[in-house]
């Protein structure tokens, strides 16, 4: 028996976690020195309020959770005799996993019969969510934790995430995106195109002027890299830019008909702190990232 864990950085919400049988780890962000744990410090993510605050000039920071906090999440499962499979956001993007490793080490000494499995999705946001839900399905089909870990060795690279941002100041400050050069300062309608690479890092791979060209470019990636996209979920996330998302969904529908299983959601505030308001992205099953 093993318990699935996922985190809010992967856009997992309490509702989704309940539906798909996950326990949820809240990854915090800070504003003006105040640390906020999504869905622990609030029940519902008020995205408009949050992204409007960012539009108004507030730049949140993200922070790691401590060893004790990890223990508080994991220990009850071990104590109840359950193993843990934690599907988490990209290790390459946060220092938090050092604390997790330390917590797990302590706990495994205390509960030597228990097992802890971690799957680094090498993604954040919808990329991580898509993989997590895929894993939830596998668990429901009766797959063991070991089988899932084995699948993940190649499986995670089959989920490609491409998105565009609207304002680079968030990236520049957080330093989380590679390839963003000095020539990308003022955007004025120019949108950097970013993807999650196989190392679990966000990398800028160009830019497009204007919304339409940016959306077309995302669609071109789906077209070019997509593999069995109708057999897996397609996730779209937006940072309070629902009209972009709607436009993109209608572009997808025009291209693929209604056979796609499209889910649209709000980009979680912690990831949103990195890429800023009006970002929009898509995650789909692909030949490669």
């Amino acid at each position: 028996m093993y318990t699935l864990f996922a985190d809010t950085d992967c856009d997992m919400t309490p509702k989704l976690a309940k539906e798909h049988g996950f326990k949820l780890i809240s990854m915090p962000y800070s504003i003006d020195g105040k640390t906020i744990y999504p869905y622990e410090d609030f029940e519902e993510f008020k995205s408009k309020e949050f992204y409007d605050m960012l539009r108004g000039g507030v730049t949140p920071t993200t922070s790691a959770i401590g060893i004790d906090k990890y223990k508080a999440y994991f220990e009850p499962e071990f104590a109840a005799g359950n193993d843990i499979l934690y599907v988490h956001f990209s290790k390459a993007m946060s220092m938090t996993f050092g604390n997790m490793d330390a917590a797990v080490k302590d706990l495994l000494e205390k509960y030597p019969d228990r097992k802890f499995y971690a799957i680094d999705t090498r993604c954040i946001s919808i990329g991580g969510l898509n993989i997590a839900l895929e894993i939830g399905d596998m668990r429901n089909e009766g797959k063991t934790a070991e089988q899932i870990v084995e699948w993940a060795k190649t499986g995670i690279y089959k989920f490609a995430t491409y998105y565009f941002a609207d304002d680079l100041k968030f990236f520049k400050r957080s330093g989380r995106v590679g390839g963003i050069t000095a020539t990308m300062g003022t955007l004025l309608g120019v949108r950097p195109i970013i993807y999650m690479n196989a190392d679990g890092k966000m990398v800028s791979i160009g830019k497009e002027r204007g919304r339409v060209k940016a959306l077309e470019r995302l669609l071109a990636y789906v077209d070019e890299l997509g593999e069995d996209i109708d057999k897996h979920r397609v996730f779209i996330a937006h940072a309070d830019s629902g009209d972009f998302a709607e436009e993109f969904i209608s572009m997808l529908t025009a291209k693929y008909g209604d056979k796609l299983d499209i889910h649209c959601l709000l980009l979680n505030p912690t990831a949103g702190s990195h890429c800023g308001p009006n970002s929009m992205g898509v995650c789909f099953h692909a030949k490669h990232r």
């Binding site: 050069t181 020539t183 990308m184 300062g185 003022t186 004025l188 160009g206 002027r209």
Partner: protein, 552 residues
């Protein structure tokens, strides 16, 4: 006395006369603008171009026509501003080529050298347009040359030359519809006529009235005084200009001999130009001892104005620095961008977008080839991409590129601020391949349209549209599209005419004359009207154009 041969001194003095005359008349030339808005600058450009040549010629310590004309041409090539300035510099470069090997020239050689100027100038532009300075000059050369005989004098040649210049200038509206519609003659052609008439005045000994340097209209660049220090050697003397009011207490004004006065100045200086206007003596002289000159002059009267400039300083500043500056020690970077812009907001945006150096300039203030060269030195990159961002600056940028050999200079033909913005915003040198980067920049400009809103200063009729003075007109792709009594409806009209609804992005660049609140409201209104178009407001701070609108 008939002057039979043209020597270096006379040529330099004639150039000075040409410069004085265009300086005096430059506003008239500026106003010969096909658009009824205050953005004409041909007169300023031509004056500054010929002045650069003049300064270089006067610094040439030789009486050889070959050396003086070559120096003048080089100075003009560097000092060229605007398309007319570039063509003017090419005319003089051709003339100088024609004077190669000539310590002086008779009328026949002069005619041949002038003919050389024609081919040189036509070669400077990829598609020569008739009805411009090119035609005016060519017509006059052909006419004057056809009348040259064994007995022709320089005076006769210049008489014929200027006669046909004027006639050809009057014909320019017949050749160029845009001039006819606007009811003006070609401004570059007109500027050229003033220059040649000023040159002829010197030849004829006729007074070219000249005003003080500080007159409005043209901003003189500040001279960098750091180039002359405690160890510098005074090499080039002082350019000394003054207006001397003869005093009856000191001299019998009626019998004052201007020739004696001039002879004395020639004995202690050169490049002497002296005119007597009533009881005022106007003097231009280059001398190592301005004190002696002033002491001498004061024996006859008192000074109305005096201007003395250290020419070693000017020379260091203008000429030597560029040709003989030591190579920069720090290593060159691979790529750099030089962009032209004016308006604090636009300049800042271009810097933010990655321009390594922003040359101040635009419609009303065209940078010189030398300004570009300075920028190239500053950027110090293996390959430099240049964004002139104005159709009238493109040729100057190309001329600067030709004159510069320390880097691979690539001029991206951006003709508007919108072109420049598009090229710069999509600039990406990650490939490391200059050809690819250049192609990307050029490709990025496709489909970008720039519209401008400015206030008409006179009535006019263009493109079948009547414009009354005081109305706001919308200009795009070289045409006036609309005229409205207020700014906002002019913007709204232009947006509609340029099919704003089909555009992806629209950037409204607010000029210094448009109020912030108005711009913000306009931006909100346009956003509501054109729902699919992203409307972005930018505080450009530019003069003349109340709004620039970039459609993508």
């Amino acid at each position: 006395m008939e002057t039979e041969r043209l020597n270096g001194n006379l040529f330099a003095n004639m150039m000075r006369g040409g410069s004085l005359n265009i300086r005096q008349n430059r506003s008239i030339v500026n106003d010969l603008n096909v658009f009824p808005i205050p953005d004409g600058d041909t007169g300023d450009n031509m004056y500054m171009t010929v002045e650069a040549g003049c300064n270089a010629a006067c610094l040439e310590h030789s009486d050889s026509l070959e050396s003086v004309s070559a120096s003048a041409a080089h100075g003009m090539l560097l000092g060229a501003r605007g398309n007319s300035g570039v063509i003017l510099s090419r005319i003089f470069a051709g003339i100088a080529e024609g004077f190669k090997g000539c310590p002086n020239a008779d009328v026949k050689s002069l005619g041949a050298a002038f003919e050389r100027g024609v081919s040189h100038a036509y070669g400077a532009v990829s598609v020569p347009i008739e009805g411009t300075i090119l035609t005016v000059y060519k017509d006059a050369v052909r006419y004057a040359n056809s009348l040259v005989t064994e007995d022709s004098t320089l005076h006769q040649y210049f008489n014929n030359f200027t006669l046909e210049l004027r006639r050809s200038l009057e014909r320019t509206p017949e050749l160029l519809a845009v001039l006819k519609e606007a009811g003006v003659v070609d401004s570059g052609g007109a500027g050229f006529v003033y220059i040649i008439e000023g040159m002829k005045n010197v030849l004829d000994g006729v007074d070219t009235p000249f005003e003080e340097h500080t007159a409005s209209g043209t901003s003189h660049k500040t001279v960098d005084t750091s180039s002359f220090n405690e160890n510098s050697v005074m090499t080039f003397g002082y350019c000394t200009e003054f207006l001397l009011q003869l005093q009856s207490s000191k001299v019998d004004i009626d019998s004052f001999d201007i020739a004696d006065f001039s002879n004395y100045l020639n004995s202690i200086g050169d490049s002497v130009v002296v005119f007597l206007d009533g009881s005022i003596v106007k003097v231009h002289v280059h001398t190592m001892t301005p004190g002696v000159v002033l002491g001498f002059g004061q024996a006859y009267g008192e000074y109305l104005t005096v201007k003395i400039e250290n020419m070693t300083l000017q020379h260091n500043d203008v000429t030597i620095q560029n040709r003989f500056s030591p190579p920069k020690i720090e290593r060159k970077r691979a790529f750099g961008i030089v962009a032209v812009a004016c308006g604090a907001g636009i300049k800042q945006t271009f810097t933010d977008l990655g321009a390594s150096y922003v040359v101040e300039g635009g419609q009303c203030m065209n940078p010189s080839a030398e300004d570009f060269i300075r920028a190239f030195d500053e950027v110090n990159a293996e390959t430099i991409f240049v964004l002139p961002n104005n159709g009238n600056i493109l040729l100057t940028a190309r001329q600067a590129a030709e004159l510069y050999d320390k880097s691979d200079i690539r001029v991206i033909p951006s003709r508007t601020i919108g072109d420049g913005y598009a090229a710069l915003s999509m600039y990406d040198d990650a490939s490391g391949d200059a050809d690819q980067i250049e192609a990307l920049a050029i490709g990025s400009m496709e489909g970008v349209v720039t519209g401008e809103i400015s206030r008409a200063i006179r009535d006019s009729s263009s493109n079948g549209l009547h414009v009354s003075a005081g109305e706001y007109i919308g200009i795009a792709r070289g045409k006036i599209h609309c005229a409205k009594p207020d700014r906002t409806s002019a913007v709204a009209d232009l947006c509609q005419l340029l099919d704003a609804g089909s555009r992806d992005v629209m950037i409204l660049v607010r000029g210094s004359d448009a109020p912030v609140e108005e711009a913000e409201q306009l931006c909100a209104d346009l956003g509501a009207q054109y729902k699919r178009t992203e409307v972005i407001l930018l505080d450009g701070g530019q003069a003349v154009y109340d709004y620039i609108i970039i459609f993508e």
